[in-house]
Amino acid sequence: MNAGNRSSFVYVIFIRTTPEALWQALTEPEFTRKYWFGVSVESGWEKGSAWKLAYPDGRVTDTGEILEIDPPRRMVIRWQHEWMPELKAEGPARCTIELEPVGRAVKLTITHEIDRPDSGLIKAVSGGWPRILSNLKSLLETGEITLPDK
């Protein structure tokens, strides 16, 4: 998506909540299922812990490892896609999640990058995040996602 020998995107959203509540929303499977298309994000949440995305039907689409973690401020995940062969073949990407209090809100920054140009993985992942972040914001600010898919 961008020039040079890497592909990346940076997404930012401001959510009126606390860093602690947002961190909880990002790390508890019961919580992630509510705003992340039913996906459970599972990990021990320590440096070196395994990390995975599991769908309700048991499919594990992405695996990885926690490279850095500093609750409730920052984490870096080695993100390996497992489901689609052509995206899996691109190898691991890095996802950095940063939380920064700004006034009465928290600035959440998601940076996703891979060391290769024109990455299909980055393109695929970039499409999903805005929806997930918008749902997450609604859930934390109002207690429900804007419009459930039913």
């Binding site: 998506m1 961008n2 930012v12 805005p130």
Partner: protein
């Protein structure tokens, strides 16, 4: 100004929408790279980028000494959720009902 006001103000300019298109085509550009393909002064591009940044439509990160500009589509998703999606619901519900009827399952 509210977040929504900043957002719609930022979108209400052809030059800024063009800048967003340039970033969509090629994300993570420097000011110099952005100026190269636009019929705007460097100063004009700088000012437009500041408005887009204030509206959270552009995010800036530093890579070494380079300041890179990234398109942030998250506020556009919020516009979609707030202003567009609810108008699609009746149509989606009609399609769902049609599918149920054609497939002969009264409950779906």
């Amino acid at each position: 100004m509210s977040d929504a006001d900043l957002l719609f103000k930022a979108l209400a300019d052809r030059g800024r929408r063009k800048l967003m298109d340039r970033l969509h085509a090629n994300d993570g550009q420097t000011l110099g790279q952005l100026c190269r393909h636009l019929d705007m002064t460097r100063q004009g591009v700088t000012q437009h980028l500041a408005v887009l940044e204030a509206a959270n439509l552009v995010v800036v990160t530093w890579r070494g000494r380079e300041k890179l500009h990234f398109l942030n589509p998250v506020p556009l998703q919020e516009i979609y959720d707030r202003w567009i999606r609810k108008f699609e619901r009746p149509r989606l519900a009609a399609l769902r009902d049609l599918k149920r009827r054609l497939e002969g399952d009264p409950k779906g």
